[in-house]
């Protein structure tokens, strides 16, 4: 108890002592005020403990840490509570999925939400489960959607007030996506926003005929929330079918868009579509990073968004007004953005039966893995895939329930996810980099180049450290002011998750999933 008061006195029990939400905070900055680990001592980081997952699926979880207890999910839908100080397990909750489920890209789960000692998890079979955080016992289970129609729940839910928000994956299986809110105590559905408007609703005119019925618009990454505006922001995924867009003429709202919803009612306040009539599978499933900063001499509530389509956007998050957009990687499908932010498309840069080479490739200039914004440096950090292309193919395809509905395919030297253990593609086919952008201009301030690309997220700290990892199996710390490598360790498996940092027993720790193992680092005690 005495140590608790000392910690409070030191201000160490501020919110950043814990990592309580998927993105670390409602603004989704992936920035921590912790400063024990610094650019000067990062070279002394050492392994504290590991957790070995039993699952051989991709380990995409971002852990939650609350008062010394860490909560993780292990693919596909197992929750584990463990001691953040030692890695020892307290309890395990296993959700049993049926043999056949419908995730597009692996039987994965990205994490949990926590509220009033209850953990919330979406499942591959379309359920939202509420589990007691102390006992690991199921409190309730709610069917969100009939998974047999091609749906899967893969992202961490978001808690707003007493609601649990969760969306649905399935953009390659002809779904019609939605975001729904449930009563955190009972599981009762409170509102639902469908990402594809039906006839009679604004936006349905952006779909030809019945194409809206299987128009995609999945949600597979947690959104953000501005309590002052009571708006919640979510990135919407690709239109379906992915590559044969001729069956859905029009802009195809609200695919490849960000939506701002009233958190109480689920009503749409505004939307901004990054990629109208998306023909490339460039989901706008990135993290909405909420930042208050100056824009042309005036304070502005902004949203920073590095999109899979290769442009970095500044958006007014009160109104949805497009402020600025600049390319952050090599791209050739658009010559730029007009003054409303609409891409000026280059003719012919679309999928075709014979295949069309397009930059960036199908995984985009970046993707779902978390970027970070540091108020200390006023820089935006992200993992980019640069100077790489894919060959995009399109072909006719009829919709069939529960079947793949992509209308085309992709060839690329850069694999969409790490598949081969040995990395030996042509280095000229593209590279990865951690890049720091000036939010005002979109200009690159520095970059740390890597041979292979990264599916890893980033966390920055108030001591100007940046932690991340990549597909090569390297985890590293950079100086956030200049990109200098301060510490690295080869861990031998791909990083497909974001790191977190927190305090346990007053000591700062960094945890990240690599391969099938969760690693926790800290300074020598």
């Amino acid at each position: 108890m005495k140590s608790l008061w000392i910690l409070i006195g030191m201000g160490l029990l501020a919110q950043d002592a814990n990592w309580t939400t998927y993105h670390g905070n409602y603004s989704s900055t992936h920035h921590s005020s912790l400063t024990q680990i610094t650019p000067a001592n990062a070279k002394n980081l050492e392994l504290k403990w590991t957790f070995q997952a039993q699952s051989l699926e991709k380990f995409e979880v971002t852990p939650l840490v609350v008062d010394g207890v860490m909560y993780i999910t292990e693919a596909p839908n197992t929750i584990v509570a463990l001691d953040a100080a030692t890695g020892r397990e307290f309890w395990i909750y296993e959700h049993k999925n049926p043999d056949v489920t419908y995730p597009c890209c692996g039987k994965i789960n990205r994490g949990l939400a926590l509220h009033n000692n209850t953990l919330y998890m979406g499942t591959l079979d379309g359920k939202l489960v509420a589990v007691d955080a102390i006992t690991g016992q199921l409190r309730w289970e709610k069917v969100v959607v009939d998974y047999k129609q091609g749906f899967a729940l893969t992202h961490a839910p978001l808690i707003i007030k007493d609601k649990v928000l969760i969306g649905t994956a399935g953009g390659e299986l002809g779904i019609r996506g939605f975001l729904a809110a449930y009563d955190a105590r009972t599981g009762k559905e409170l509102w639902k926003f469908k990402t594809i408007p039906e006839p009679g609703e604004p936006g349905n005119e952006t779909w030809a005929g019945d194409s809206w019925k299987h128009g995609g618009g999945p949600i597979w990454l947690t959104g953000s929330y501005d309590p002052a505006l009571n708006l919640t922001y979510w990135g919407i995924g690709n239109a379906g079918p992915d590559w044969n867009a001729k069956v859905r003429p029009g802009d195809n709202l609200y695919t490849s868009s960000v939506i701002a919803l009233d958190a109480d009612t689920g009503k749409l306040k505004w939307h901004f579509q990054f990629t109208p009539h998306d023909e490339w599978d460039w989901d706008a499933v990135q993290t909405p990073v909420l930042v208050d900063r100056e824009w042309r001499g005036k304070p502005r509530k902004m949203m920073l968004w590095a999109n899979r389509n290769g442009f970095f956007y500044l958006i007014d998050r009160v109104t949805g007004e497009f402020l600025q957009g600049t390319p952050f990687v090599k791209l050739d499908w658009a010559s730029g953005l007009d003054d409303k932010g609409r891409p000026m498309r280059v003719p012919g840069k679309v999928p075709s039966p014979q295949g069309t080479v397009i930059f960036p490739g199908v995984q985009g200039g970046t993707n779902w893995f978390a970027p970070s914004y540091s108020p200390k440096t006023d820089l935006f950090y992200l993992n980019v895939w640069d100077d790489y292309s894919s060959i995009f193919f399109a072909w006719d395809q009829e919709y069939e329930l529960g079947k793949w509905y992509a209308g085309g395919g992709i060839k690329a030297e850069v694999q969409s996810t790490r598949r081969d253990r040995l990395a030996r593609r042509d280095p000229k086919s593209g590279y990865g980099a951690v890049r720091a952008l000036n939010p005002s201009t979109g200009a690159k301030v520095w970059e740390y180049k890597t041979t292979d690309v990264s599916d890893g997220g980033i966390v920055t700290t108030a001591s100007n450290l940046l932690f991340t990892g990549n597909r090569e199996g390297n985890v590293f710390a950079l100086d956030a002011t200049n990109g200098k490598l301060l510490w690295t360790l080869y861990l031998g498996g791909q990083v497909v998750a974001s790191p977190v940092t927190y305090l346990v027993n007053g000591k700062q720790r960094v945890t990240i999933a690599v391969g099938h193992t969760l690693y926790t680092f800290g300074l020598r005690d």
Binding site: S55, L56, E57, K58, D99, V100, T101, Y102, P103, C104, C105, G106, K107, K148, E172, D242, W243, G361, V362, Q363, S390, F393, W395, Q397, E398, G402, K403, W404, A406, G408, G409, I410, K411, A412, V414, Q415, S416, T417, R419, D420, L422, A423, R424, R425, D426, P427, K449, T450, T451, D452, N470, E472, G473, N474, T488, Y490, H516
Partner: protein
């Protein structure tokens, strides 16, 4: 109904097959089945594995006849229904007949690899020996490890592909055989093929046949050429001799069973 029953039976059959040579055989192998399998493949598999089955951004090539996660038709059936953990390969909820039809189509991508060879295999074997191919290549327990293991090359490449490999070996060469050269900071020259690479290091099979790992920080410079170290036999062999060597290579079907 029969097909559903077949699917239900499969796990038990799989277990049994692990202890015998009685792996399930594909019961749907007619030309019509294969055509239907091709249609399913195009709609359900080609996005990741390519229309030609030779691989894409998300899925590996299925056209070589050799599969990482399956050793027979039954294994392919299992992979398609269950998926592959840790990869993007999902399990598919198609009925048993459809899956067998896809299996048949995939098998067809590599079927008859060696059958079209028109040369004289015995003459080809002599040419193979005379040209000292095993100075670089491994063959049935002997030779050198620098080049491709040819012990089962007849199951992996068609006659056309084998001929191309002889006359234009750099036309299509796997990355692990690209020519890598480097100069270490102390002036030492290194040459070999690049087996693996990350930001900090390279894993090399050098020209002396030695495995070595080098730190990029220790190198002055390095080059990677997208071509094979194998010489072209275009001007060394006549067209007939190329056919003969191809016919011999086509007989190389791996270890006897």
């Amino acid at each position: 109904m029969f097909f559903r029953f077949l699917v239900l039976l499969l796990p038990a059959a799989t277990l049994a097959a692990q202890h015998s040579d009685t792996a399930l055989k594909n019961p749907f192998q007619s030309p019509d089945d294969r055509a239907r399998g091709g249609a399913f493949f195009r709609s359900q598999c080609a996005s990741c594995h390519g229309v030609d089955g030779k691989g894409g951004a998300s899925g590996p090539s299925l056209a070589s006849g050799s599969f990482r996660h399956a050793s027979n038709d039954e294994g392919l059936f299992r992979v398609i229904t269950k998926g592959v953990a840790g990869t993007s390969m999902p399990g598919f909820s198609m009925n048993g007949r459809e899956i067998w039809q896809i299996v048949g189509f995939i098998r067809g991508l590599s079927a008859g690899r060696a059958g079209a060879a028109k040369g004289n295999a015995a003459a080809g074997e002599q040419l193979f020996a005379a040209n000292k191919c095993t100075n670089c290549h491994w063959l049935n327990g002997g030779g050198a490890p620098r080049g491709l293991d040819l012990s089962a090359i007849g199951t992996r490449l068609s006659a056309v592909e084998l001929a191309q490999a002889l006359v234009d070996p750099s036309a299509e060469v796997a990355p692990e055989y690209w020519m890598w050269t480097a100069t270490v900071k102390n002036g030492q020259k290194l040459r070999g093929s690049r087996l693996n690479e990350d930001t900090f290091s390279l894993q090399i099979l050098d020209s002396t046949g030695k495995l070595r790992s080098v730190l990029k920080a220790d190198l002055q410079e390095q080059t990677l050429e997208r071509r094979s170290a194998m010489p072209s036999f275009k001007d060394k062999l006549t067209a007939q001799q190329v056919d003969d060597v191809v016919a011999y290579l086509a007989t190389l079907q791996g270890a006897a069973k």
